[in-house]
Amino acid sequence: MVAKVAININGRLFQEEVPERMLLVDFIRERAHLTGTHIGCTYEGVCGACTVHLDGEAVKSCMLLAAQADEHKVTTVEGLAPDGELTPLQEAFKSEHGLQCGFCTAGILMNMTDFLKRYPNPSEQEIREGLIGNLCRCTGYVHIINAVRKVVQENQSRKT
């Protein structure tokens, strides 16, 4: 009933014995003590607050067992700005007021960080569709989209 796992989270290796049924999100919160990743639904995996990167891609950590991340690389919101300097996306969330209660924010940042890597120049509609996996109750999404657009514009103007 116990599995031995070795998960690299934000560059730190966590070797732990865990119950086989332990979810990755619980491993992150309770074993790695990284509580920026949140749980917002029960079994349905809809809200997206627990979104992390698994080998660089956004996934919902409540829909994975910890054992499935064995020998994989996980990045959480705490790993976005390891040297203390906020990423452009984090900065834009701040300047555009892209968060209110902040509970869903970690998941949104992780999803959008991956999204912008894959789609560097998205339209507003594409951003909206990219956000489908993250529910937010506070913002009405408007400022979140403004924040993502700001990063896109900054990147585009840097290119030209």
């Binding site: 917002g40 809809v46 705490e78 209110q100 993250n134 408007v142």
Partner: protein, 797 residues
């Protein structure tokens, strides 16, 4: 952070102080707080809507390794006082149900707590909860509020002998005779009015679901008592309630609502039964106990509101004057076992706010609230008046159609033009300019242009429509209304404490959940003292260090709390000025000094000045050679109470395109006009408006709590309870038409709480406008494609 001219931070779009920690995962919500050795609690909840509990077998569960204790209703009913208790009971006459944290004898809704499992591991606690076997004998569920009030209905709370938890007439005075006289007068107007529209407006069960579910972490110490971290909008009320109900002497109860809370929206404002039993368990086991609500439990138990039937009638003349309003409301209260609100307080306020910002010469407004075997209504942003505003804004359009008038013109003609004004239900509108707001909206909406576009679109087979709505929103709740409604004071309270280094600590007893109190407060304090917002630290929600506050409810921030902060700052400024005048040997008082750029400057001679820090340090650390009668120290607590209730006002316009084939519609535009008073931080105000409007849209169209004929709740996860995602909602064009509030020191108003209420009417009006060729009037929510399509079918066949 740049220094601003005059250090006036008012109106500045300052990025929030809260954001850095929240953006880096360093926020600390209740479920993130760790106390070593904390046990995990899991509730066993009722599978039935209404059933007798025959027996509960916990033996198998207790044998599971890691299980510490299992509680049932029978075990705790002699140890814990039953509800209601005065601290969480409004001063309104009603049939308050008696209940304990765990069901005793019978269950009254699907999801009610029946037993509590405490274990060392949360997975084990869930395993054990599955092994608690409850034997039920089903009783007839009461699910329809109209049926519930019939004499033949089964009774849910037997001791009351009725399912009518509350009823009230809001017009015609306080006596039955005067109300009857009023009703007769209203009836006479209806009999003679050239235009009468009467319909039944139904609003489904929906509400606001914060992304962070409820949670509580309790620790117990025999000498210090109870320390409880709770997701709550009202820590001070929770503290008193826990003290009273668990018989713990009040000085031994401390409640902390962490500064990081994942949204409240009213859902975290009640006093919940779960908190009582978790606190009891911590005391009983002398160990920390944690309960983190699952989304499943959350959707089964809280966030359910709206759910009203309003039988409304409006009388008008052919010139477009409103003559009379009659409304018989019926609210489906659910089971009523939730402290502070008991379900019916929301429809109560909904009825008071029903007349909206219109002049009604006469009205007859009554409300009945029925208990049913569903989860108790819990407050949700647009508290109680989401349904009544839907009804009135929809009905007004129907009247305008009958008169043959533009609904927007009909509205403008009847809006209250001169404030202050006392509404037909005795709601006091203190200040503002409704017509300015309305005209701002109409200018942006450009109705004449739209009507041309609409005609052109129609010739191409496209159905576009425009809809309007407006709303008066309470700006905080004055004690005058708050005491009867919730048995709590309405004042705002704040402590402002200066330290010898010129920094400021502010303490507030309310408990925000994302509204940006830290930033807004810092801006106000910085503006008052002429310092930087970075120099200001705010503590909220800790009953151990903050003055009493009734909580973060009803838009109290921009109205009451921030006013208390400003007044406390001004009190300290007076003292600082007195000391400085004394030290500089000037005959001067506070109005002769300017606080700016970290200095206090004498206006008569700007060479006479002191750095803010030195004068503050001098008063706190060197209390010698003082002005006569003064003492050292700089610390002020103030309680702000406005003489009368205050309001703010807003209006919505939306444009939709409806597909005749599927009834599906797309929101093409959403335009607003807002009077929010003086703005402290426009980013935050914009964010509040966006969030409120999108919540309103999501409630109107997507979200619905569904119960089947047996009272089974079928929408207990986000796959079935459908919240709008980013691709489902529009951008919002916000416009401001502000008038400063004359009753607050900063001219600010409290905003955001009631903001969703004008949304369902405006949106439904737009859909009906698009379908005007078919003369479709929609009176039932949710506003769903299948229902719209059916209406089109009915109209075309």
């Amino acid at each position: 952070m740049s220094q601003r001219k005059n250090d006036d931070w008012m109106g500045t779009p300052l990025p929030r102080k809260e954001d850095r920690r929240l953006l880096t995962g360093k926020g600390k919500y209740v479920s993130d707080i760790v106390i070593p050795g904390a046990l995990h609690a899991v509730f066993v909840r009722s599978e039935y809507a209404h059933a007798k509990i025959l027996s509960i077998d916990t033996s198998e569960a207790e044998e599971l390794a890691g299980v510490e204790r299992i509680y049932t209703g029978d075990q705790i009913k002699h140890l814990i006082k039953s509800m209601p208790q005065p601290i969480v009971q409004p001063a309104l006459p009603a049939h308050y149900p008696t209940f304990w944290p765990l069901a005793v004898d019978k269950v009254t809704f699907h999801g009610e707590p029946v037993a509590l499992v405490i274990a060392r591991d949360k997975y084990v606690a869930e395993d054990a909860a599955e092994l608690v076997f409850v034997d039920y004998e089903e009783l007839e569920p009461v699910l329809d509020p109209e049926e519930a009030l019939k004499p033949e209905s089964a009774i849910i709370h037997e001791k009351d002998g009725t399912n009518e938890i509350f009823s009230m007439t809001f017009t015609g005075g306080d006596t039955e005779a005067s109300q009857a006289k009023n009703a007769a007068e209203v009836e006479k107007i209806f009999q003679n009015a050239p235009i009468v529209v009467k319909d039944r407006f139904k609003t489904h069960r929906t509400g606001v679901t914060p992304m962070e579910p409820r949670a509580i972490l309790c620790d117990w110490d025999d000498s210090d008592g109870l320390l409880a971290y709770i997701t709550t909008q009202r820590p001070h009320i929770d503290r008193l309630a826990l003290s009273d109900i668990l018989d713990i002497s009040a000085e031994k109860v401390q409640v902390i609502a962490p500064r990081d809370q994942g949204g409240g929206f009213g859902v975290k404002a009640p006093f919940y039964r779960e908190n009582i039993i978790i606190a009891h368990a911590a005391r009983d086991l002398k160990q920390p106990v944690r309960w983190v609500e699952s989304r499943y439990e959350s959707l089964m138990n809280v966030g359910q509101e709206r759910d009203q039937i309003n039988d409304m009638e409006i009388a008008a003349d052919l010139e477009g004057n409103m003559l009379a309003l009659r409304n018989f409301g019926l609210a489906d209260n659910g089971v009523g076992t939730t402290g502070v609100y008991w379900g019916f307080v929301m429809p109560f306020l909904g009825a008071i706010e029903l007349p909206n910002g219109y002049k009604w010469p006469k009205a007859d407004i009554r409300l009945k609230v029925a208990t049913t075997n569903k989860a108790c209504l819990t407050p949700s942003r647009a508290f109680g008046h989401f349904p009544t505003r839907f009804a009135i804004e929809r009905c007004i359009d129907m009247v305008a159609h009958k008169i043959g008038m533009e609904p927007s013109a009909f509205r403008r003609k009847n809006l209250v033009a001169d404030l202050p004004y006392t509404s037909i239900t005795n709601e006091y509108f203190d200040s503002g300019d409704f017509l300015k707001v309305w005209d701002t909206l109409m200018e942006k909406a450009n109705l004449p242009d739209f009507r041309v576009q609409q005609k052109n679109a129609l010739s191409e087979g496209k159905y576009i429509g425009i809809g309007f709505g407006c709303g008066v929103e309470l700006s905080g709740v004055a004690s005058e209304l708050f005491v009867p409604m919730e048995n709590q004071p309405g004042y705002g309270a704040a402590t402002v404490r200066l330290d010898p280094r010129g920094k400021v600590q502010v303490f507030g007893g309310d408990a925000p959940g994302g509204q940006g109190h830290e930033t807004t407060t810092a801006q106000v304090v910085a503006s008052e003292f002429g310092i930087s917002p970075e120099d200001v630290i705010i503590t909220t929600g800790n009953t151990g260090s903050t003055p009493f506050g009734s909580g973060s409810v009803g838009a109290r921030m921009g109205s009451y709390f921030i006013s208390a902060v400003a007044e406390a700052c001004r009190e300290l400024k007076t003292k600082i000025a007195k000391f400085l005048a004394h030290d500089l040997q000037l005959e001067a008082s506070v109005e002769h000094f300017e606080f700016k750029n970290g200095e206090v400057v004498y206006l008569g001679d700007d060479s006479q000045r002191s750095s803010f820090m030195s004068i503050v340090e001098r008063i706190i650390m060197f209390p010698i050679n003082m002005p006569e009668g003064e003492t050292g120290g700089l610390d002020a607590t103030t309680f702000f109470e406005a003489a009368k209730p205050m309001i703010c006002f807003n209006a919505d316009c939306c444009v939709v395109e409806v597909s005749l084939e599927t009834g599906d519609f797309k929101i093409l535009k959403w335009i607003t006009a807002e009077d929010v008073g003086n703005v402290i931080n426009p980013l935050i105000v914009n964010g509040q408006m966006h969030g409120a409007i999108v919540q309103g849209i999501s409630n109107t169209v997507f979200e619905e709590f569904v119960y089947d004929e047996q009272g089974q709740q079928l929408t207990a996860d986000f796959e079935h309870y459908k919240m709008a995602n980013a691709a489902d909602v529009p951008n919002i064009d916000l416009n401001y038409a502000t008038t400063p509030c004359p009753h607050t020191p900063l001219g600010t108003r409290g905003i955001g709480e009631g903001r969703p209420s004008s949304v369902p009417g405006a949106l439904t009006n737009a859909v009906c406008d698009a379908l005007k060729p078919f003369e479709i009037e929609i009176t039932t929510l949710p506003l769903r494609p299948d229902a719209i399509w059916q209406k089109i079918q009915d109209a075309t066949q």
